[in-house]
């Protein structure tokens, strides 16, 4: 299972077109990230969500500045399946409990931006804006455990050092997180070649792998990636 992460600021028409392209190419899920929403103190645009939802027939997760049950409800009513929270959950962890109680854990994804430091794996927040990005003073592994206790149904771990570099997923960090993570775990950050997908599934036993730039640029085409993974003995949707 692969996701596609929208992180560039594009006009809506482009997003609809991209969404339709990934749908047709066999992406298994789409994640719509409005990464500057939280640092800018706003929530992801409902109109975009609704327009994307109309063309998509695959699972669709939306992230960006969701601070309350009301924010989430609007996005779910606009056609999102799942909502993903990151910085707002670091500021107010009870948000996860509230979302899980209202919509069920299956709707609630927690995104975590994590950095390897000399103090171990650390959670960062406001990573959508380089000037505001900062250490949230949380240890990644304990945050992984806390969000599950609070009702997260899925965790997306974005390994910041690998993100955008295309040198491969951070297998070591993902393995450490996998040990503590009993809900579906999605690897994010670092995909640059088909072998990176095969190794993250095999070596870190993640449930899904997410990528953005290699798909947007056309460097990796989803049908070819799936064929490669199938050849490597990894079960993927035809």
């Amino acid at each position: 299972m692969k996701g596609v992460r929208f992180r560039d600021h594009r006009v809506v028409g482009d997003i609809i077109e991209l969404a339709a392209r990934y749908r047709d190419e066999g992406a298994d899920e789409l994640v719509f990230y409005d990464i500057t929403a939280s640092p800018e103190g706003r929530s992801v645009d409902r109109q975009w969500v609704s327009r994307v939802a109309r063309v998509l027939d695959i699972p669709f997760c939306v992230a960006g500045g969701i601070r309350s049950v009301e924010d989430a409800e609007q996005l779910l009513n606009a056609g999102a399946e799942k909502i993903s929270v990151n910085s707002p959950a670091l500021q107010r962890p009870e948000l996860i409990d509230e979302l899980a109680a209202r919509f069920g854990s299956q709707c609630v994804v927690v995104g975590i931006d994590s950095q390897t430091t000399q103090d171990g794996f650390r959670v960062y927040q406001f990573t959508g804006d380089p000037d505001k990005s900062r250490d949230s003073r949380r240890d990644t592994l304990s945050w992984i455990e806390e969000v599950q206790r609070r009702g997260a149904g899925e965790i997306v771990l974005n390994c910041m050092a690998s993100d955008g570099v295309r040198g491969g997923y951070d297998i070591e960090q993902l393995r450490a997180v996998r040990e503590r993570c009993h809900v579906p775990l999605v690897a994010s950050g670092g995909a640059g070649a088909p072998e990176h997908f095969a190794s993250v599934f095999r070596e870190a036993r993640v449930d899904a792998a997410l990528a953005a730039s290699v798909f947007h640029s056309g460097n990796i085409r989803i049908p070819e990636l799936k064929q490669y993974l199938r050849g490597a003995g990894i079960q993927v949707r035809a």
């Binding site: 609704s50 027939d57 695959i58 779910l76 056609g79 299956q106 009993h182 449930d207």
Partner: protein, 201 residues
């Protein structure tokens, strides 16, 4: 596509996110209305019973409008989706809830493992075990999208089963009542085929 103008009513069981289901039906050219009025539902040619959330809450909402009595008496094709399928059963372990009793079997909690996290969220194939018009065109290579923490036992009502740690009912039927554990509205072309089959029943 000849589904245009099909009189399709989606039961509003509250709390459920109906947008993606309505969009999927729109893509098939089918218009639908959403209602919790027993008279409107009784008069529909086809009925969909979706559901997201907990079994106990959903049953409480159906009871509040008398739909718990009405649904088992319906005679037109009805398709339960996800929790909506589970509600067709006699009982769910989720909150020890007595359900609609259309199918005399149990819904149980999925048992997870390190390889099989629960809730089960993801794409799986399913194995048709009986021929049925709802499954026309389906084979063992079709993947569909599941999101659930509970699942129905396999029994004589099972049209197709899926393996995730244990084997459970992916598609069920009793008389005019069909149910699918997965989300056809989010299952790409396989899901669209299933909805189209339902619209042609």
């Amino acid at each position: 596509m000849s589904a245009d103008g099909v009189d399709l009513t989606i039961i509003d069981s509250g709390g459920a996110n109906l947008a993606s289901l309505r969009y999927a039906l729109e893509r098939l050219g089918a218009s639908s209305i959403v209602s919790s009025d027993p008279a409107v539902i009784r008069a529909a040619r086809r009925v969909l019973l979706p559901g997201v959330g907990a079994a106990g809450d959903a049953m409480a909402r159906l009871r509040a409008t008398g739909l718990d009595q009405e649904i088992p008496r319906l005679t037109q094709p009805l398709l339960g989706i996800c929790l909506g399928m589970q509600l067709l059963f006699a009982h769910s372990e989720e909150g020890h809830t007595r359900c609609l009793g259309v199918i005399d079997a149990q819904v149980r909690r999925l048992i997870g493992s390190s390889e099989r996290p629960v809730p089960h969220m993801g794409w799986n194939n399913f194995t048709p075990v009986r021929n049925d018009p709802l499954l026309r065109g389906f084979g063992p290579d079709d993947f569909v999208y599941f999101v659930h923490g509970y699942a129905a036992d396999v029994g004589e009502h099972t049209l197709a089963s899926t393996e995730y740690g244990s084997t459970f009912s992916a598609v069920v039927r009793r008389d005019n009542f069909w149910g699918v554990q997965f989300h056809p509205e989010r299952s790409a072309t396989a899901g669209a085929r299933l909805l189209k089959n339902f619209l042609e029943l």
